[in-house]
């Protein structure tokens, strides 16, 4: 759940009265763009990517214009620009026009929670406006601080002194940067980065820090984000329909975390526990359709819904339904297995049979009753299956599921289809 760019960033900074560059959204009229250029001398034209996309400048995805005509040309170029990060292609949904802020000094500032210090940490340099990874370690400072008292002026002052920052920027930064702690701590953020903050001369001649780019990450377990009344669809790009539907079930009782690994995978593996999730997804690789953690003793209704949704989206393409977890501590296996088996039975009732091989590996409270419940449903649906106890190595069970997938791919699926009275290509 990330936000980048000044379109929303400027609004967020306003909450704590932190100065920000002037920004116009994609709907800005030519008149407004013209006025902004008149006022600021030039504008930056930036594509709007949902999520936190960095290094746009390096990729030629930031335009600068000193007249309306070139601003509109840049708008046309960048409005639907595409940007590839790793395997993911992000598509722009409009542009912003940001008034240029002339300045001698550019500051980098961020707050995040550090696992090295187990505390919030401020990272600061007055050599900003560039990748901080490229800076020498002496040019940048990392300062942990106490979250109960927050980021205080003296912390900023000490940090700037230690950095040997020019004296004209110290006072304005000491005055303004602590405000950002309020934004970070009270609105559910887990990272906040302003780069650059440009030090613009103010009316009285002293410098004013003006945020010219904005990035933040929100903690999705923190309801404080609701205080910001951000648009509902701001984070939508992060999930496909399936993830969206599952994540609506997200409550603190029982996990319901999923991530689509391969839309064209053939093993559907609802996994229980964060550890099992890591292990199973690792071994299955691209055979897996989803990576999931449904542990945490989910109640019947929730487990049923999770399974119902998973089956709705992916059972048709699935060769192997693979239900796997370690030896549960607290998850009631009878409840979770009954819910999943019922969902499978109801899928067959409502949408018809589909060729399938089922592999299960699990231990924990009521494991035999749970396995028995699943067995009964599989027998009644005439689906071939193997159910392993917790004394079988989990990775071997994963390998077995892969073997079953290979068998299904090399003629097994047609045989199961025949058994179920379905056409071979089902």
């Amino acid at each position: 759940m990330n936000v980048s760019g000044m379109l929303h960033g400027a609004g967020l900074l306003k909450i704590v009265d932190f100065p920000a560059s002037e920004v116009l959204g994609p709907e800005a009229s030519e008149h407004d763009i013209h006025n902004l250029i008149e006022k600021c001398g030039s504008v930056f034209v930036k594509p709007i990517f949902r999520g936190g996309i960095g290094k746009k400048g390096k990729s030629g995805l930031i335009g600068r214009a000193t007249d309306l005509k070139s601003a509109l040309a840049e708008k046309e170029r960048l409005y639907f620009a595409e940007y590839k990060v790793g395997n993911v292609v992000y598509k722009s949904r409009g542009v912003t026009f940001e008034g240029a802020v002339p300045a001698k000094h550019e500051i980098y500032f961020s707050i995040t929670d550090s696992t090295r210090y187990r505390a919030p940490v401020m990272t600061l340099t007055h050599h900003g406006g560039m990748d901080i990874e490229e800076l020498d370690k002496t040019q940048i400072i990392e300062v942990p601080f106490d979250p109960l008292t927050g980021l205080k002026s003296f912390i900023v002052s000490n940090a700037l002194t230690d950095l040997g920052a020019p004296k004209e920027i110290i006072s304005p930064l000491v005055q303004h940067l602590p405000k950002l702690w309020d934004l970070y701590h009270h609105y559910g953020m887990s990272t906040l980065e302003l780069n650059p903050i440009r030090m613009m001369p103010g009316k009285s001649g002293s410098l004013v820090p003006v945020a010219c780019d904005f990035k933040c990450g929100f903690d999705r377990d923190d309801p404080r984000i609701n205080r910001l009344s951000l648009p509902d669809d701001l984070f939508v790009t992060e999930a496909n329909d399936f993830e969206q539907e599952i994540n609506e079930l997200r409550t603190y009782q029982g996990q319901s975390d999923v991530y689509v690994i391969n839309e064209k995978g053939t093993i559907l593996a609802p996994t229980f526990g964060g550890g099992a999730n890591s292990l199973v997804t690792e071994v299955l690789g691209n055979d897996a359709i989803i990576s999931s953690d449904f542990g945490g003793n989910p109640p019947y209704e929730k487990m049923y819904d999770v399974m119902r949704i998973s089956l709705k989206y992916y059972l048709k393409q699935t060769n192997v339904l693979f239900i796997i977890g370690g030896k549960a501590n607290n998850t009631d296996i009878f409840v979770t297995f009954r819910a999943m088996a019922d969902a499978l039975r109801d899928y067959f009732s409502e949408r018809g049979a589909t060729p399938l091989y089922v592999v299960i590996g699990r231990g924990g409270p009521q494991v035999i009753r749970g396995m028995g419940a699943f067995k009964d449903v599989l027998d009644s649906l005439r689906i071939p299956y193997k159910i392993f106890g917790f004394d079988s190595a989990m990775t071997d069970v994963v390998n077995y599921a892969q073997e079953a997938d290979r068998w299904m791919k090399s003629g097994g699926r047609a045989e199961v289809a025949k058994l179920l009275g379905l056409p071979a290509e089902a």
Partner: protein, 900 residues
């Protein structure tokens, strides 16, 4: 003031040795002890640890206790009250919801200065609160475990604190040994301990650290405490990507590190463990490298390439941990703690190829599970039929469900629209055995019900008659008879059903009609035989068996009865018939043994309700409604019996169909209907947790008393409306298409008159009457509206070439209402109109020739409703007996309101 911590750390750490993490001396306070998770986990922890929990809190629940095998744990509103009551503790365990955790930690450490350790089980705590919790612990000098962890345990001390390490039977997994476990995954803490014990290694202290961004008790503290724990010879550390906790750790004892999650480098957000998302330089590969550098090894350990040193090994597969540990310890000259208890090879506990030929790699034979699971499996396989978990069944049903969008109810997953195509006998069975009948089932069940409609000389008939004469509606009159069909009149047949089930339970019989099946029933005991055979021939049984042959029915159970030396009783024959119908669903565990046991009782009730609905004069010694008893047994269906009871004449195939359709449509309208609520309330009051005490006949009375002139009797409103419009016509037969009746004219006249009436009512401010059968709260608002149920039935009748003028009238009426400006769009004809039109079609000839008064028409409409609905309600009764809890339909006083 912060307590002084261990000097080696720049931050506060209080625990010097792993032996101090979970001790027998620790005394514990559990916050939100009555929460869902705590309620199941805490009693096990308390008993395992020798009763170490002194009290728990739950605001507003002071005075309650949490029952455990080691004695009750008192509950207080808050920590202060518990302490004021004299309890002392040094460890706090937090089960609060995420948003309350931070305040809970603050409460623990600010109210009680003696708190040394806090274990936070809750997951999904916001980072905001986690950073404050960390700071609170540091400020006050408290060691915190978690959040999002499963607590800590000590196999030597037999103590676990916080979560559910070791599951519901901790002793099985927490085996005393020499290995400490530190794991980012709670489940893997237990799974690794389990794998270790299979490989011959026991444990000392187990720590589930959690894997949020903030890990309070992390790898460096663990390494320090391990160094000071004499019991611990080595450790297993399970680490996931993200975070620098392991980076600078120095171990002075051997460690097997398991790092899992290379693939997570491609993730853009965490799944499951919030902190398991790498930033820069802390992904799985980086962590593998950190550990390899610490241990001085050049590669990962695998069975094929067992790279390790005296200092340790790195694996990426938890199944390799025991082997890696053994290899490392061998280099250190340390033997296993105990002989290995097995291996981790693939061992299927259950499996079925369903007759397919699998590859050799897949076709692994099912093996006997390790104890005690082998005994549990044996018990499970012995069990016949489904076992439903009990829960509150208030407003909840496993039998029926109504789709709020389509308003179509499904009974055991079959839509009532499909039920309308089934005869009543099949729908009665569907409600109870959860599947529709085949032909043989119908033959068996028709006979079973037919044997119970004639109530000649039975006090039940007299009761119904007396109640009718006292002016009661049909439901009340029938109730009087139903009251007499109590448990004692059903026990013999129920005992016979039990005997048959027990004798054939493990015979290999899969379907009850498979007379050729090679099965081996158990030898019947004398007690079982006594439930099946009488000392002398039973005339009713003989008549039923004769009819059984006449109908050409098949039943393994009837065949079995006949093979016994003796005289089967009529109750035994009844049980054999019903058990045959129920056998396949029982074997497939769709229904319980209890349902099969009670099926003869339901069957007697169905027969009796149909019988008691008609006047006593129609019950004679040798006939019912003028039809010879043996003929009824030999060939009549339940639907035909309902017809003759209702209308007093033999049906033809054409006249029977509309009744069948009506009965199918009304078997259920979901669990929210008053009739369902009535029968479920009756079951709930008897206490389904002691199913033997539930009076099924009383359940049926509950259904009957919860019908009436407004619910069930209202079908008559439609009939009245139709009569009003047709009484002045020449209509003789509603199914005759050659009518000279001008529906357009009748409906237009009505629409104009109604419009006038509506305007007058508006002018006077009085309410406008509804037209029965027209419009629906869901199916409205379109230019032309349809009730999908009505559409379905229309198509069904059209396919069969069935004509119904009353139905056509309704369809013309909605158009005329629109054409004449009465309605703003074309309203739908609803399902009630279909029922009224179908029923009136049946009754019309008798109304026309004066045989049926309007009063009798009303009674017939009401009784027809009862015939259909008794199927759905029997299903609800049986479902509630199987799943419900005692008094679960009760509404708490807090949800009731008062008016004065």
């Amino acid at each position: 003031m912060r307590k002084p911590g261990i000097q080696e750390f720049k931050y506060y750490v209080g625990i010097r040795s792993l032996a101090d993490i979970a001790t027998r001396e620790d005394r514990i306070c559990v916050l939100n002890i009555t929460g869902n998770e705590s309620r199941t986990v805490t009693p096990v922890s308390h008993a395992y640890s020798g009763g170490n929990i002194v009290f728990g809190t739950s605001p507003g629940r002071r005075g309650q206790v949490v029952e455990t095998p080691a004695g009750n744990i008192p509950v207080y509103n808050n920590v202060r009250e518990g302490m004021e009551a004299g309890h002392k503790f040094n460890v706090g365990v937090v089960y609060l919801p995420p948003s309350a955790v931070r305040d809970g930690v603050a409460e623990l450490i600010r109210i009680n200065p003696d708190v040394e350790k806090v274990v936070i089980i809750t997951e999904k705590i916001s980072v905001h609160d986690s950073r404050e919790i960390r700071a609170l612990g540091q400020q006050r000098g408290v060691d915190i475990f978690g959040g999002n962890c499963l607590g800590v345990a000590d196999s030597w001390n037999q103590v676990r604190i916080g979560g559910a390490l070791g599951g519901d039977n901790p002793g099985e997994t927490l085996r005393k040994g020499s290995i400490a476990i530190f794991s980012n995954s709670g489940n893997f803490t237990t799974t690794i301990a389990n794998y270790l014990s299979i490989g011959g290694w026991g444990t000392t202290t187990l720590i589930s650290s959690g894997k949020d961004i903030y890990i309070n008790y992390a790898a460096p503290e663990f390494a320090y405490a391990m160094s000071n724990d004499e019991r611990t010879k080595a450790a297993v550390m399970y680490s996931e990507p993200g975070g620098y906790y392991e980076h600078d750790v120095v171990f002075d004892k051997p460690v097997v590190a398991c790092v899992v999650g290379r693939w997570k480098a491609t993730l853009t957000r965490a799944v499951g463990h919030a902190g398991a998302i790498a930033g820069s330089g802390d992904d799985a590969r980086a962590k593998e490298k950190w550990f390899m550098d610490k241990f001085g090894v050049s590669d990962l350990f695998t069975p094929e390439n067992p790279v390790c040193s005296k200092k340790g090994a790195v694996v990426t597969n938890i199944a390799h941990i025991p082997q890696a540990l053994t290899a490392v310890m061998k280099l250190n000259g340390v033997e296993k703690d105990f002989p290995p208890e097995g291996n981790l090879e693939l061992k299927p506990w259950f499996g079925d190829n369903q007759g397919l030929k699998l590859s050799a790699a897949l076709d692994i034979p099912v093996v006997k599970a390790l104890a005690p699971y082998d005994l549990q499996i044996a018990e499970l396989l012995k069990n016949v039929g489904a076992i439903f978990p009990r829960q509150s069944m208030k407003d909840c049903s496993g039998s029926s469900v109504m789709d709020p969008k389509t308003q179509v109810t499904k009974v055991n997953n079959i839509s009532i629209l499909d039920c309308s195509k089934q005869p009543l006998e099949s729908n009665l069975c569907l409600a109870l055995v959860r599947e529709l009948n085949d032909e043989n089932d119908n033959a068996l069940y028709n006979l079973a019900v037919a044997a119970h409609v004639n109530l000649h000389n039975d006090p039940m008939l007299a009761a119904a008659e007396a109640a009718r004469e006292a002016g009661n509606a049909p439901n009340t009159a029938i109730s009087a008879a139903v009251a007499l069909l109590g448990p004692k009149r059903a026990d013999a047949a129920r005992a016979a059903a039990d005997s048959l089930t027990e004798i054939f339970a493990h015979s290999g019989l899969l379907t009850g009609d498979d007379e050729q099946a090679k099965v081996t029933p158990a030898a019947a005991t004398a007690e079982q035989l006594a439930t099946l055979l009488g000392s002398a021939p039973d005339a009713k049984a003989e008549a039923m068996l004769k009819a059984f042959d006449k109908r050409g029915a098949k039943s393994v159970f009837v065949k079995y009865l006949r093979s016994l030396k003796g005289h089967p009783t009529a109750d035994a024959v009844l049980a054999a018939l019903t058990t045959t119908v129920a056998w396949e669903p029982l074997m497939r565990k769709r229904i319980s043994k209890l349902t099969v046991r009670n099926l003869p009782w339901y069957t007697k009730l169905f027969g009796m309700i149909i019988g008691a609905s008609t006047e006593a004069k129609h019950h004679a010694a040798g006939s019912f409604c003028g039809v010879d008893n043996q003929e009824i047994l030999d060939s009549w269906t339940v639907t035909q019996l309902a017809y003759i009871s209702l209308l007093g004449e033999r049906p033809t195939a054409a006249s029977l169909l509309p009744l069948q359709v009506i009965l199918g449509l009304i078997i259920s309208n979901g669990v929210g209907t008053i009739s369902s609520q009535g029968c479920k309330g009756a079951v709930s009051a008897d206490g389904p947790e002691s199913p033997e005490r539930v009076q099924i006949n009383k359940g049926m009375i509950g259904f009957l008393t919860h019908t009436g002139f407004a619910h069930g009797g209202n079908g008559y409103e439609g009939i009245q409306f139709l009569i009003e419009n047709f009484k002045d016509t020449s209509l003789a037969d509603a199914s005759n298409p050659d009518q000279s009746i001008d529906l357009k004219k009748i409906t237009t006249d009505f629409a104009i008159a109604f419009n006038k009436e509506k305007k007058q009512s508006k002018a006077l401010g009085t309410g406008v009457r509804n037209i029965p059968g027209v419009n629906h709260p869901v199916f409205k608002g379109l230019p032309v509206n349809h009730d999908p149920r009505e559409t379905y039935i229309t198509e069904f009748f059209a396919e069969r070439g069935e004509k119904n003028v009353f139905h056509d009238f309704y369809k013309t009426l909605v158009q005329s209402l629109y054409d004449n400006g009465v309605t703003s769009n074309v309203f739908c004809v609803n399902i009630d109109a279909v029922i009224a039109a179908s029923l009136l079609k049946l009754l019309w000839p008798r109304y026309r020739n004066g045989q049926f008064s309007e009063n009798l028409m009303e009674m017939a409409a009401f009784t027809a409703f009862l015939f259909g609905r008794m199927a759905g309600c029997a299903g609800e009764i049986d479902d509630h007996i199987n799943r419900g809890r005692n008094m679960d339909t009760r509404t708490p006083a807090s949800q009731c309101s008062h008016v004065s």
